[in-house]
């Protein structure tokens, strides 16, 4: 009977190993927080970190997966693209857990749900990077979105609840668009399976008009999640309202996960329609880069400014996506890696420099930060330089790569707009640095002196420098991971 269980239908759980580990850890931490009478946030943190480490180990072992390309009824793709995306996500989650643990501890608020919710969100995110069926993509998207809505409201401040509400309403709306896109794709090709859709469209058996509508609707759905203009309206309010540690997590991880799924769907299912969807992505990229960079200038709150900056970065990743080549995938992956490290670190510094909770997040309170904490000011400068795309940081290499991929694919116009947007964006990054180094302190804010969260911020800083000076360390790996087949 056991033989029958294992052989029919064939169950290969290897490729979802990371998700199984995360699921187990999430349930354990959830029950640990609820059942154990004396709650130990530190024990929950350590258990969560152990779960993330286990998932990372399993992910790495999948690099040499020799089994079927898709498993579990064709639902999950076992490729290196998923491995790389997962590792980025797991790293972000681990650092964010450390930051969040410190954030709530310092506020004196007990939020035992923070740990399992981050694990569930990460589960949804890693699942979406490997999903090979639109139904699973949708479910994973919902798991990560639902958990994020709750995480946003976790601090119970009015701004957090308001942000969560906006995120939820607009997110539900975008999910509806996404689902309609899935229905259209099914209507056009008779399948929700990514490679079956591609085969049907390549063989001209699918209905092209419906397939194009599917692309448009799916782009709207993903556009909301990556905060591309004109689907970005929720971003500033949510990023500003959410607890800063949660903002750090979602700004970095959500974009990586959504872009990974976006790339997979466009480059496999709709690869036969590449000529039709590149102009859409092209337009999105241009609008996102310009609007994100220009609106960031007018912000007076550091969290809002970084929110608009993250919108602009989505535009730069879209430049890589619009290339629709292997080089494009590779440049987008590298950009996501650099962006995730940078934005996570930047929000980490904001968390440490803001006193308790969100007391001091106006740009004015960054005046003279170098006097009060040279270390934080230095780290922030490094992250800002990376966002502006100035060598020797990872952001520079990332921008060069996406522009080169776009030019190689013949989209020199997008690359030109991207360069101009970078110049505009550099203005407000430099402005913060001027504030930190060349002005007298306006407020007397004592930065958080703790050591552990500083280490958690130093890790992305080191990576930003490392990938900026020796990009070859990861570019080779990313090249081998940038193959999406159908």
């Amino acid at each position: 009977m056991l033989g029958q269980f294992l052989s029919h239908p064939p169950v290969e759980l290897g490729p979802i190993g990371p998700e199984l580990v995360l699921a187990g850890a999430g349930v354990l931490v959830l029950l640990g927080g609820a059942l154990v009478r004396r709650r130990q946030p530190r024990a929950l943190l350590l258990a969560s970190l152990a779960g993330l480490t286990g998932a990372a180990v399993v992910s790495v072992s999948l690099w040499r997966w020799r089994g079927h390309a898709t498993v579990l009824g064709g639902m999950v793709q076992a490729d290196r693209f998923a491995v790389v995306a997962r590792l980025i996500l797991l790293g972000v989650a681990a650092l964010a857990l450390v930051l969040g643990h410190h954030y709530f501890e310092r506020l004196g608020e007990e939020r035992p749900e923070f740990y399992p919710l981050v694990l569930f969100t990460t589960l949804g995110m890693t699942l979406i990077t490997a999903a090979a069926d639109l139904i699973l993509v949708f479910l994973a998207l919902e798991i990560l979105s639902l958990s994020l809505y709750v995480l946003t409201a976790l601090s119970r401040r009015l701004a957090a609840v308001e942000g969560s509400m906006k995120y939820f309403l607009l997110g539900a709306f975008s999910s509806a668009f996404f689902l309609y896109g899935v229905a259209m794709a099914y209507g056009a090709t008779g399948s929700t399976h990514l490679s079956t859709i591609a085969r049907s469209l390549a063989g001209q058996t699918g209905n092209q008009a419906l397939a194009l509508a599917a692309v448009a609707l799916l782009v709207i759905g993903f556009g909301f999640k990556v905060a591309a203009v004109p689907f970005h309206m929720w971003t500033p309010d949510v990023y500003q309202g959410a607890p800063t540690a949660v903002t750090a997590y979602m700004s970095a991880a959500t974009k990586v996960a959504a872009f990974a799924a976006f790339l997979r769907v466009l480059m496999t299912s709709f690869q036969p329609l590449t000529w039709d969807w590149t102009p859409i992505v092209w337009g999105l990229a241009v609008a996102t880069m310009i609007v994100g960079s220009v609106l960031a200038i007018a912000q007076t709150d550091i969290k809002r400014m970084l929110a608009y900056s993250s919108i602009a970065h989505a535009g730069f990743v879209l430049v890589g996506v619009s290339a629709a080549t292997q080089e494009g995938i590779q440049s987008a992956l590298f950009y996501l890696l650099a962006y995730a490290a940078t934005i996570l670190g930047a929000f980490g510094v904001v968390m440490l420099a803001s006193g308790r909770g969100e007391e001091h997040t106006s740009l004015g309170s960054y005046a003279g930060l170098c006097r009060r904490s040279p270390l934080l000011a230095g780290l922030m400068s490094l992250f800002l330089l990376s966002m502006a795309g100035i060598p020797p940081t990872a952001g520079f290499i990332a921008k060069v790569n996406v522009f080169r991929a776009a030019v190689d694919a013949g989209h020199w116009g997008v690359a030109l707009v991207g360069v101009l947007a970078s110049v505009v964006a550099a203005f407000f990054y430099i402005r913060v640095m001027v504030l930190m180094y060349m002005q007298e302190p306006l407020e007397d804010v004592e930065p958080d002196p703790s050591i552990v969260p500083r280490l958690a911020v130093a890790v992305p800083a080191l990576l930003t420098l490392l990938f900026g000076v020796f990009p070859g360390l990861v570019l080779g790996l990313l090249e081998r991971a940038s193959v999406l087949r159908w």
């Binding site: 579990l72 009824g73 608020e109 709750v150």
Partner: protein
């Protein structure tokens, strides 16, 4: 026209009128009740397409449970239930967007089928066969649903509990 098509026209008409009343009703409780009608009519369409199980899921979950949640939600809010001006200043823009989407979809479906009669042959899938594909091919989405439910319940508890600080 066959009996199925007659039934479809009736269901579609009632459902559309109810949907229209749903967004124009000034009393939110009435709107929720119109939603019941719309959802039930959609369930009827599933039935015509011989998707029996899905039809009853539609009735049980959407008509039975979701609308109840809506009504509870309405009771929880402080807003008095009654003839309220449930409106903001964006009626015109909303109308424009709605009409735009309608025009786009009509064009699309016309383009896809060229006004030809898309001979719909309902394939009768038994619940057993449905279960088999659900529990064989779609194992992973099925288990993912349980995580979705878990996350939703955690959210309900986290958001509904009283804050100790205040």
């Amino acid at each position: 026209m066959s009996a199925q098509e007659y039934a479809f026209v009736v269901l579609a008409l009632v459902g559309t009128v109810a949907a229209f009343r749903l967004v124009t009703a000034r009393n939110v409780v009435h709107a929720a009740l119109y939603l019941v009608v719309t959802l039930a009519m959609v369930g009827g369409v599933y039935l015509i397409l011989a998707a029996e199980f899905v039809a009853w899921v539609q009735i049980l979950i959407y008509v039975g449970a979701i609308v109840i949640l809506f009504l509870f939600g309405l009771m929880l809010t402080k807003a008095p239930i009654g003839r309220e001006a449930l409106d903001n200043q964006q009626r015109g823009i909303a109308l424009l967007v709605g009409l735009g989407v309608l025009a786009g979809l009509v064009f699309l479906i016309q383009n896809a089928f060229h006004w030809s009669d898309p001979k719909i042959q309902p394939i009768h899938v038994t619940t057993g066969a449905l279960g088999e594909s659900l529990f064989r091919q779609y194992v992973l989405p099925f288990e993912a649903v349980s995580f979705l439910l878990l996350a939703a319940l955690i959210g309900a508890i986290v958001l509904s509990r009283k804050d100790e600080r205040s």
